[in-house]
């Protein structure tokens, strides 16, 4: 354990040095954080100039949803936005061997491999929006506790979806990066899950559970008495943890089998 912590510290140090080496990019990283939060808020603001609710959600509810999503997104983007493309490249180009041979858990290595510190600003801004959107609401301590649990489960789902998408390169390698598609899909987590009906509900709230990343936490805060939404989130998160592990093991076997 001591060895792992030492290694993680070293990886964080390298990532920090990499982050501040490029000043223009760091500046734009901060700018991108502000835009990343500002654009969905502007989007909903413009929509709510024309309508009163979206799938039963008011502007305040959507604002809170955007806040929760941005907080989770900022936190995980910091760890994954550069690491996942690296993992995909290593799988595709056969350079994963050098990582597999290292005396460290491969998942852990990629998680801390390349941290983008500017993304944490996103997470802080997201938290600020949550606090702003909750003004005037009577929130009980139990709701806050469940919110934290729900956010943790949302993080697991976010990570799992991106991780599974990336390691699918074991079977379906492409000649271009696949991060773009994930980034455009994860954005649907900032829309109310109730917009998906019928087949869409099954597709985007169960099979690809983007609707379970940030929505349950928002529901817990805004609608007292509907805390049970955490139950399906917990079940799906557990399934995805197992799926992650299983698919990774299969992928490693396939990787060896390919003789790369």
């Amino acid at each position: 354990m001591k060895h792992k912590i030492k290694l993680i510290k070293s990886l964080i140090k390298i990532a920090l040095l990499e982050s501040v080496s490029f000043r223009l990019d760091t500046l734009f990283g901060i700018l991108s954080s502000i835009l990343w939060l500002g654009i969905p808020i502007a989007f909903f603001k413009v929509i709510y100039l024309n309508v009163d609710t979206i799938g039963g959600w008011t502007f305040q509810a959507c604002l809170l949803l955007v806040g929760v999503y941005t907080m989770l997104d900022g936190f995980l983007m910091a760890f994954l936005v550069k690491s996942m493309p690296l993992l995909e490249r290593d799988i595709r180009e056969g350079t994963l061997d050098s990582i597999l041979l290292k005396p460290i858990n491969t998942k852990l290595f990629y998680f801390f491999r390349s941290i983008e510190f500017t993304q944490f600003i996103n997470a802080i801004l997201g938290l600020a929006v949550i606090i702003y959107a909750c003004q005037g609401a009577a929130i009980k301590p139990v709701q806050v506790l469940l919110l934290i649990c729900s956010c943790a489960l949302g993080c697991i789902l976010y990570y799992s979806l991106w991780y599974l998408w990336t390691i699918s390169a074991f079977w379906f390698p492409t000649n271009f990066g696949r991060t773009d598609l994930f980034l455009s899909m994860i954005q649907m987590s900032r829309y109310p899950a109730t917009i998906f009906r019928g087949l869409g509900n099954l597709m985007f709230n169960v099979i690809l559970p983007f609707g379970l990343v940030a929505c349950p936490a928002t529901v817990i805060l805004l609608f007292p008495g509907r805390e049970f939404v955490i139950v399906p989130q917990l079940i799906v998160a557990l399934v995805f943890i197992l799926l992650d592990h299983y698919v990774w093991q299969l992928g490693i076997k396939k990787y060896d089998g390919a003789g790369r």
Binding site: L24, D25, I39, F172, N175, F176, G200
Partner: protein, 265 residues
């Protein structure tokens, strides 16, 4: 010389089809955002309600159209140029008897043609569905206007994207610069929502910028039944932007290559 560029187009096109996984992912990339937007706008707009002059079916067509244009026009030339400059791959292109921007333009055409071929069956089916259910009617003239707008959109996009990518001649890492560019362009081009939804003053400002020609203008031509004079005046402005950006690109290219030579020795 033309044969060389045609060969580049063919290579670029074939490289997409060479990998079946790439084909599937490209299809997902085009389909999933359209499906999500369909659900979102179905929840927002009810019955005969309109937003920014768009009713529900027009908004659905708008998003399908925007994603189609995205697939056909929005080639990530800036990301590619950024990578080629920093990896030194650009040296291989410089040493060939080719113009760099023509090389990248030929690559873009090949890549976009591949996308178009992939999406053609889906677009055809979608078009037939909309047409048969009388959700959307289109005249031959509008189709011609749209096609011309689309071609100019691709050229303008290339020039703009090439210019942004050229910043890599001067700076080492552009990851977030390019991310910010994408977000801003998506917003100003009408990818997130129709520009007409914005308050009038903001719409006027946004519409005076070249970004609307990347997707908002072609799709407006297709679904909003604009007058021929409107299309013509906008197309002339678009051509002026193309000419301006072309000369800026030549200048930036020359300065950038001088700097690149300095770095590479």
């Amino acid at each position: 010389m033309l044969r060389t560029y045609i060969a580049i187009v063919k290579v670029s096109l074939k490289s997409i089809f060479a990998n079946k996984s790439s084909v599937v992912i490209l299809l997902f990339q085009a389909l999933i955002p359209s499906i999500v937007m369909f659900y979102l706008w179905s929840a927002i707009v009810n019955g005969n309600q309109t937003i920014g002059g768009f009713n529900k079916s027009q908004l659905v067509v708008y998003y399908i159209g925007v994603n189609f244009i995205n697939s056909f026009v929005w080639y990530a030339i800036d990301w590619e140029l950024n990578e080629d400059i920093h990896s030194g791959e650009l040296s291989n292109i410089i040493h060939r008897p080719l113009s760099i921007h023509n090389y990248y333009f030929a690559k873009m055409i090949g890549d976009r043609l591949a996308n178009l071929l992939l999406l053609a069956p889906l677009l055809l089916l979608g078009g037939i569905y909309l047409f048969v259910n009388q959700l959307w009617q289109i005249s031959f003239l509008v189709l011609v206007e749209f096609t011309i707008s689309l071609i100019f959109a691709a050229i303008l996009w290339f020039l703009f994207s090439y210019l942004v990518g050229s910043i890599a001649f001067w700076f080492d890492n552009l990851f977030f610069v390019l991310i910010v560019k994408e977000v801003v362009v998506n917003l100003l081009a009408g990818y997130y929502f129709p520009l007409e939804i914005l308050p009038k003053q903001i719409t006027n400002v946004v519409k005076s910028l070249p970004f609307q020609y990347f997707s908002s203008f072609p799709i407006d031509v297709l679904i909003q039944k604009q007058k021929l004079s409107f299309w013509l005046s906008n197309t002339i402005i678009e051509i002026c932007w193309v000419v301006l950006l072309y000369f800026v690109m030549l200048l930036v290219n020359r300065k950038g290559l001088q700097r690149y030579s300095d770095v590479m020795g």
